[in-house]
């Protein structure tokens, strides 16, 4: 329940911030000519009220056990992917992240996993960059 409450409070903060921002920085207009701030203001107030009510509500949330370490590492790798993408290029980023993700998900021999990661990256570069002409970042080494 603590996580649900925290998320409810976060949504309250988002709602309040939106309402204040709309009130302070956007023209609200008149009912006959609504300004750009009118809807965000109304929605911000509504979100804060609804999310505030959820904080006091009893409701179910997933209770099964989760593997925290695995989840955190995979979550971090998801963030790492767009961070590395423009710096080292699509091919290398893909190979590195796929290898690291595989290592976290299940115990597979490093050699086998490396082969899978490199092969996937090579196929993805050939398919997306060369065949479908998606301009994926290539990084300083052209990878």
């Amino acid at each position: 329940m603590a996580a649900a409450r925290a998320l409810g409070l976060l949504l309250v903060a988002v709602g309040l911030y939106s309402a204040v921002e709309a009130w302070a920085r956007m023209p609200l207009g008149l009912p006959s000519a609504p300004g750009p701030g009118m809807l965000p203001f109304a929605l911000g107030v509504t979100l804060a009220a609804l999310a505030g009510a959820t904080v006091f509500q009893r409701a179910s949330e997933a209770s099964e056990a989760i593997d925290r370490r695995r989840t955190l590492v995979v979550g971090a790798l998801l963030v790492l992917y767009p961070l590395l993408l423009p710096r080292v290029g699509f091919g290398l980023t893909t190979a590195l992240v796929l290898f690291a993700m595989g290592r976290v998900i299940a115990p597979v021999t490093p050699g086998r996993l490396a082969l899978f990661a490199v092969a996937s990256a090579v196929v993805a570069v050939a398919l997306f960059r060369h065949l479908l002409a998606v301009p994926l970042p290539s990084g300083p080494w052209g990878l």
Binding site: P27, E61, L78, Y81, V108
Partner: protein, 505 residues
């Protein structure tokens, strides 16, 4: 109508459109088989692949992916007791029991055949209902559209898994996200933090891919239990004479229930399959067999979710308003290809409107032919270990998000919403209303603004029209009913639907 259909078949039977319909239904089935990748993530993932296609071909392929996922989802439910997509959750109950008793083949067979019959009947319903609703929609003004969107969002919140309050909060959050970017009338920048990437607003596709694609991957990684595929022979796929005798009425009932549930806003395919299961159990002479491998418990729901896929296209094609997250992604596909679904689509682009409808007849037949002989292939796909499958799905989502606008900003948006989506799932907040509200938000704002300008600021305009007054009255009634005790009924549905929480949309 017959002229339109003839024109549609002329489009759908062109060899390239046949190929795209085949690609759509095949990929849709494949994605439906994989647990967690439902129609939303599936269409969003493959959307960039349609960019270079003719609009009619692109929509034919995307529609194929949509109803193809409905076919594929049952395979996973029957063989590993995990729904491939949410609408197949109820199939787990009796389908998996049949598989454990060595009757996986007939369960898969009746699921495919029932899906074919229901899908075809659903397209007939779509063909009749969409033009009729289109004629009505031509009389809609801003007040009616505003009321329709509000009604849709309230019904969605009401039917969502878990708490209505949380679903309403999620819907409001989605509407708020829809206000990010330059305001269309004045060009005023809202919540853009001076980032030019946000001037066009938050992309719907990256948000959907994050919430439903990456969110599901994280959820799957977080789970400590592993899915087990039923081993052994599938047995004969074609149902026996006795199976047929028990199933044919369930298939027909499921088709009707599915189509009508498909018209409702919200997780209509999930609701359709749950309602169908309940009806079959109630009318059965052997209700005690349900839960222990009753074939009607597979035939009815699987028919219902396929008919619902056709029903869900009615509001999209005739009103231009998506009623569920998968149809919202389809709407994005229409818009990317320069098409505006709604009352004028049938007049302005009959090739697309009728071409898509005709292709659905062909696509359903393709699915039947595909599903029976290729079931072995789909079973092998299911046996791909997570250690290879999940990183590959991540790779495809990254490329998919990037290629929508060749922009890293979309990848970041997707990653952020992937993490947010995981948090939503784990805390009982249904992410579906966010996605739908994000799409409907700009439409709602435009309709509201136009209506208020027309009425010189008087809210009476929303009550002056019988259509908008009825829709707003129904929305208010639903909220009051929910507060007054209807929650119990909704929670029973939600409890069943929440089995699928974990990303199958």
């Amino acid at each position: 109508m017959l002229d339109g259909l003839a024109q549609g078949f002329a489009v759908a039977l062109q060899w390239d459109n046949l190929l795209y319909a085949f690609a759509g239904v095949f990929l849709g089935t494949l994605l439906g088989v994989l647990p967690g990748i439902g129609p939303v993530a599936g269409i969003a993932l493959l959307l960039p692949a349609t960019f270079s296609l003719h609009p009619a071909s692109a929509i034919i392929m995307m529609a194929g992916i949509f109803y193809g996922t409905m076919y594929g989802g049952s395979t996973t439910s029957i063989l590993i007791n995990v729904p491939g997509e949410a609408a197949s959750v109820i199939t787990c109950i009796d389908g998996h029991q049949m598989a454990r008793r060595g009757r996986a083949g007939p369960a898969l067979g009746i699921s495919a055949i029932g899906s074919f019959i229901a899908g075809t009947l659903g397209v007939v319903g779509l063909m009749v209902a969409a033009p009729a609703l289109t004629r009505l929609a031509l009389r809609f003004g801003p007040a009616e559209y505003f009321a329709l969107i509000v009604f849709g969002l309230v019904v969605l919140a009401f039917l969502s898994a878990g708490s209505t309050l949380r679903a309403l909060a999620m819907g409001t959050f989605g509407l708020l996200l829809g206000t990010v970017g330059l305001e269309p009338m004045s060009g005023f920048a809202r919540f853009t933090f001076r980032r030019p990437e946000l001037f066009d607003g938050i992309g719907f596709i990256p948000v959907a891919m994050g919430l439903f694609g990456l969110g599901e991957i994280l959820d799957k990684v977080a789970r400590t239990e592993q899915d087990q595929v039923v081993r052994g022979r599938l047995g004969r796929l074609l149902p026996s004479r006795e199976d047929w005798r028990r199933s044919w009425k369930a298939v027909l009932r499921g088709s009707g229930i599915g189509f009508f549930c498909g018209l409702l806003p919200g997780p209509n395919a999930v609701i359709a399959s749950i309602v169908s299961y309940g009806v079959e159990k109630r009318v059965s002479r052997h209700p005690e067999e349900f839960g222990h491998g009753a074939i009607e418990g597979v035939a009815g729901p699987e028919s219902a979710n396929n008919a619902a896929a056709a029903g869900a296209l009615v509001p999209l094609l005739s009103l231009g308003i998506p009623s569920s997250p998968p149809t919202a992604v389809l709407l994005a596909g229409f818009l990317i290809h320069g098409l505006t679904p709604g009352p004028l689509l049938m007049q302005e682009r009959p090739d697309v409107f009728w071409g898509v409808l005709a292709s659905m007849y062909i696509g359903n037949a393709m699915l039947l032919v595909l599903n029976l002989p290729l079931i072995g292939l789909f079973v092998r796909v299911l046996r791909i270990p997570d250690v290879y499958l999940l990183p590959l799905v991540v790779l495809f989502t990254m490329v998919g998000a990037y290629s929508v606008g060749n922009s890293l900003a979309d990848v970041w948006i997707m990653v952020v919403f992937g993490l947010v989506g995981f948090a939503f799932r784990r805390t009982g907040f249904d992410p579906a209303p966010v996605v739908l509200a994000l799409v409907l938000g700009p439409m709602l704002e435009t309709a509201l603004g136009q209506a208020l300008i027309l009425s010189d600021g008087s809210p009476v305009i929303f009550l002056a029209s019988p259509i908008s007054a009825t829709l707003l009255g129904l929305a208010a009634g639903l909220i009051v009913w929910n507060l007054a005790g209807g929650a119990r009924v909704r929670q029973r549905l939600g409890k069943l639907a929440s089995v699928s929480q974990g990303g199958t949309e």
